[in-house]
Structure formats: C-alpha cells, structure tokens
Point group: C2
Chain length 328, copies 2
C-alpha cells in the first residue's frame, strides 16, 4: 500500500503538514515557489487526498445516496444516468443501491447511506414500504431527501414525479383527435398511486368530451399478464390500444406480432414511456414521453436547492411531451 500522504510529502520537503495542505489548494499564504515545489512532488508521488480523512475532518462527504427498486429498468436507468452525470459535474460522488422491492433491504441500504454520512439522498420507495419514518429521520438530521417516481403519500417531503395525470390526459387527447372509436386501455397494478392517477385521468378525458368513444380498461401487473389480457380483449375488436407503461406495451406488441396485425392499419397503439421501448418497433410507437433523464435532472436541481438552504417543501413534476411514431 504505497499511499502518499501530506505527512510524507512534508517530511521529504522539510515543511510542515499544514504548509503542504495549503500549498496544494492554492492558499494565498504560501509562496509561489513553495507551491510549485509541493505540487511537483505531489504529482510525481501520485498523491491523492484521502477522502475519508477529509470527510471526517470537514464532515462534508460530497456523497449522495440513491436507492432504487432496481437498476435494471429503462426508466430508472435514465434517471440514474442523469443524477450520476450531474453529481460528477458538481464534484459529488454517488452511491447507488437497489432494494429489489424489499423493504428490509431498503432499510439496510439506508443504514449504509447513513454510515457513509451522505450529503443527500434520492430515493424511490418500493411498493411495499409502509413506514417512511426512517427517511424522514434523515431530514431531521438536515440531510435532504428527494423522493422520486414512487413517492409516499405523506406531503411533508420533497418529491419529483412524472406527470401521471397529464401524460394520460395527453394520450387520451391524441386518441380523440385521431377520431378513434373503440379504445382498449391497459393499466398496471391497480393499487399503485401511479396507476390510479393515470386511469382516472385517461378515462375522464376520454369520456368527458362526449366523444362516444367506447372504452374498455383492464389491469395487468406484468408483461405476461398484459399479453394474456390483450389476447382476450382483441376479440372485442378495439381500434386502438393504450398502454400505461413499457411493461404493458411489450406484452401488447407480442400479441400484435403473433397475430400478424398491422400497425396502425389493423390497430393503433399509443403508450406512456421513457422512450426506449417505443423505438424498438416498426413503426415506432407514438408515446407520451415521461423521461427518466429529465426527472433525474429535476431531482438533482431540487437537491441542490435544498443544499443551498431552501427549506421549501415542494412536489415537482417533470414536463411531458408527445413523441409521434407511426403507430396511430
């Protein structure tokens, strides 16, 4: 372990440790000549400051924690990529932990974050997390917590979310404008807040405009289930299918391929998505973009605001966007 320390440099140069420390960070008290000597030796010795010592001394870890159900997910991927990018640019490191939808692992991960004295936390809670006390406790310790995507209903915390209602409304509007007559709406797990919001907004929009659109809705909590439901509802001859998420879309598209249906000739397709899945098909699927990347950027700026002293509790929403494919 060939670790260079300030002490080692100071001994070689016959200077004190504090002089080395100051020289290395360009403190005006130190003469240029000394600075140069120090910097030179430091680079040849491959000196790297010990982050642990610095954090200990300054109690500023420059480290964010990020807890997410799974990193193998198109949406979270994009979110993480954005946060990682901004963190690095701002001199922060990121500790990424996945909870696998297990509240116990979530607690373990949280503990890890605390032990590492993170400066702030980004967290997407698992669906089964009922007790968010441990997270709020961080806040009491002046460690900002930004909840994202799946957020607690509690409203005394900072949240950044996808625009669930708006995105569903936008999708519905597109469908209406295209003069569709019979729509199959496939939604996710019914007990998720996200699902309830999207379902409400979608059916409300479809119905309120007196469009005489016939709407069939159902819930699938996995791709396989979506596939089965699509197969079933196909008998009712919808002219359009709306998918609440990528997970659903993939199931739907498998049925469409299996049945050899033409898109949009035989059936139109529209989905809400981060953008990855819609681009896998031909024609590309028209979708309302709810970008994980944008959400990540938003979360980061919210974090920086908190660190900047803002105690303003807010719930932010990432803008969404219609991206036209050729599927409708």
């Amino acid at each position: 372990m060939n670790n260079t320390t300030l002490k080692k440099i100071s001994e070689i140069l016959g200077l004190s440790i504090s002089t080395i420390s100051r020289a290395l960070k360009g403190h005006p008290d130190i003469s240029d000549k000394t600075k140069q000597r120090v910097v030179e030796l430091a680079t040849t010795l491959d000196y790297e400051p010990n982050a642990n010592a610095i954090n200990l001394r300054t109690s500023n870890s420059k480290l964010f924690g990020l807890i997410v159900p799974s990193i193998s997910n198109w949406f979270y991927n994009a979110f993480i990529a954005a946060v990682e990018e901004d963190s690095r640019r701002n001199g922060y490191s990121l500790m990424i932990l996945q909870s696998s939808d297990d509240p116990a692992i979530e607690i373990t991960n949280l503990k890890l974050c605390r032990q590492n004295r993170i400066t702030g936390l980004f967290v997407c809670i698992s669906p089964d997390t009922t007790n968010i006390e441990p997270f709020l406790k961080l806040k009491e310790m002046d460690i900002p917590v930004i909840f994202f995507d799946k957020v607690p209903e509690n409203n005394n915390c900072n949240k950044v979310c996808v625009a669930d209602s708006l995105s569903a409304t936008m999708a519905a509007t597109v469908i209406i404008n295209k003069k569709k007559k019979k729509v199959l709406g496939l939604f996710g797990n019914a007990h998720l807040l996200m699902t309830r919001k999207r379902l409400a907004a979608f059916s409300e929009t479809i119905n309120e405009k007196l469009t005489k659109i016939k709407l069939i809705t159902d819930h699938a909590s996995s791709t396989a289930e979506a596939e089965a439901l699509m197969l079933k509802h196909l008998k009712e001859k919808p002219d359009t299918v709306f998918c609440m998420s990528d997970e659903i879309l993939v199931g739907v598209m498998k049925v469409i391929q299996r049945k050899g249906l033409a898109v949009p000739g035989d059936i139109g397709v529209i989905t809400i998505s981060n953008g990855t899945a819609p681009k896998l098909y031909h024609p590309e699927i028209t979708y309302i973009e709810t970008s994980g990347y944008k959400l990540g950027k938003l979360a980061f700026s919210s974090m920086m605001a908190c660190l900047g002293g803002s105690t303003f509790i807010q719930e932010l929403t990432a803008e969404c966007l219609l991206v036209e494919g050729g599927s409708l």
Copy 2:
C-alpha cells in the same frame, strides 16, 4: 446535525470510549450487563458508526468501485445488478461511475475511486482507452482490478469476459443443424476485439463443416446502420440472419416488421444476447445467452479471490447457453 458518536454515549453512561466501542461489537472483555446498557442507549440514540472514521482508522473501506461506459445498457445493467447484490451481501458498498466512453471522464472517475480508497475496482474500459497504466497502478498499490467485458489486450491483469468465440460458434452450429442455406451475419464495429473474435469464430464454423452454406457478412456500428444494412441485404434473400448483439438485433427486427416478414417462416433469426431484447418479440428470438448477470457473479468471485490473497492472474470466461425461442 444530530449525530451520535461513541463519545456522546460514553459521556452519558460514564464509561470510556473504548468500552463503548468494544461493547457495540461484542468484545469478550466487556461484561454482558454493560454491553446491554450500551446497546440499548445506542439504539435509542440511533447511533450509526461513522464509516469515514472507521475507514481512516482501519484503512479498509469496504467499498468497491465500478466504472462502466454507460449504465443504460441491458448488458451492463445486469452486470451491475449482480455485483451490487453480492457486494451488499458481503458487507461491501459499491460506487458506480459511468465514463460515457470518454477516456478523460474515465480518468476522473478513477481518481474519485482512489480518493475514496476503494478496496477493489471493476472496470470496463471505453473503446478509446489506450493507456491502461493508471489502472495497473492501482494493482501495484495492492488494489485488485477486475477488467470485464471490454478488456485491455495486455495480459498481465485479471479479466472476466463473455465467451466471444464460443458463443458465435454455438450460434453457427445451431444454424448448421437447422440446415439453413443462406445466412446473413451482421456484426458490430469492426475494430473491437469482440467483433473480430465473433466474426472469426462464426465464419470459421459455418465454412469448415463443408456445409455449402452461403454466408454474407457485414458490419454495423449502430442500430440504425444495422437497419439499413438489413434492408440492403434482404434483396439477396437470406433464409437466416445472425445478429452479433442486441443493438444489431433491434435494427434487424425493425426491418422484419416493416416488411411484414414472418419469423421463422420467411426468415430465421438468431442472436447473441443478454436475454432482454430477444424476449421482446413474438416469437421470442432464439439466442446464445451471454449473461451480464452471470458475468457479474463471476467478476465478484474473482474479486473476492484476489482479496483472499490469490495473486493468480487469470482470464475467466462466463459460460454461455443456447436459449431456444421460436425464431429459427
């Protein structure tokens, strides 16, 4: 900042810091009664040991670094998930950094790892990284470095790789067994070692068996390019298309969908993949699995071996596996 420390506990209990420290970790020198008192107070005060102080004192960070070109990638995702899982289970934390294929960012990330005194590093170098000296320097400092996936040609380092040649050979064998006559093989960026290996193994196998199979090969370095090439080569009426990677597969499938071709009726498809993409289509695409997850597990065990004192330099290869879809 309501941080409980050993000192605080010791003052409340009228004991010394060392006693608290020992009590908390079940040291035999401490009486059961004291231990109980200490543990009790520690939990009510939400004591969490300061990892920075521990690392500084013990110079053992229990932290791994992981540098990867991009985390938004099906293969790396799976790899990361595996490493993250094993790390947590073994009491390690993981610092994940993405280099965006930029050698400069790679260096920055490496520096971050060094400053945080990581215990070991997993790294997939970017294609443009020519100088791996900085990585080898870590090794000299007794910090194990496990190269994965895209590894340097230098053979004095630990590597874990996908079985490039074998996977391509397996795919070719499947094609031969299915008595295909005219095969289009689409490969990736020609200057990558991986591509060269796969191309060599594939065409060698196809040709050597005197199968009279007609083989057309080409190189695409993006999905869009693959799409264009597929479109072009379709005129030559291949009965089978082999894709070297997911990236290629997606482009190929878009053309197949666009042309309304039936799989496997009009054309057979086989690919090498981590498994995500092939399952998006119907019928599911037959593929040779090169699992990021398995590779992650392998990398982790290799890391643990190094930390266990093994100085044995080795290049490991993850096994691969034929997964039958219905596309051939």
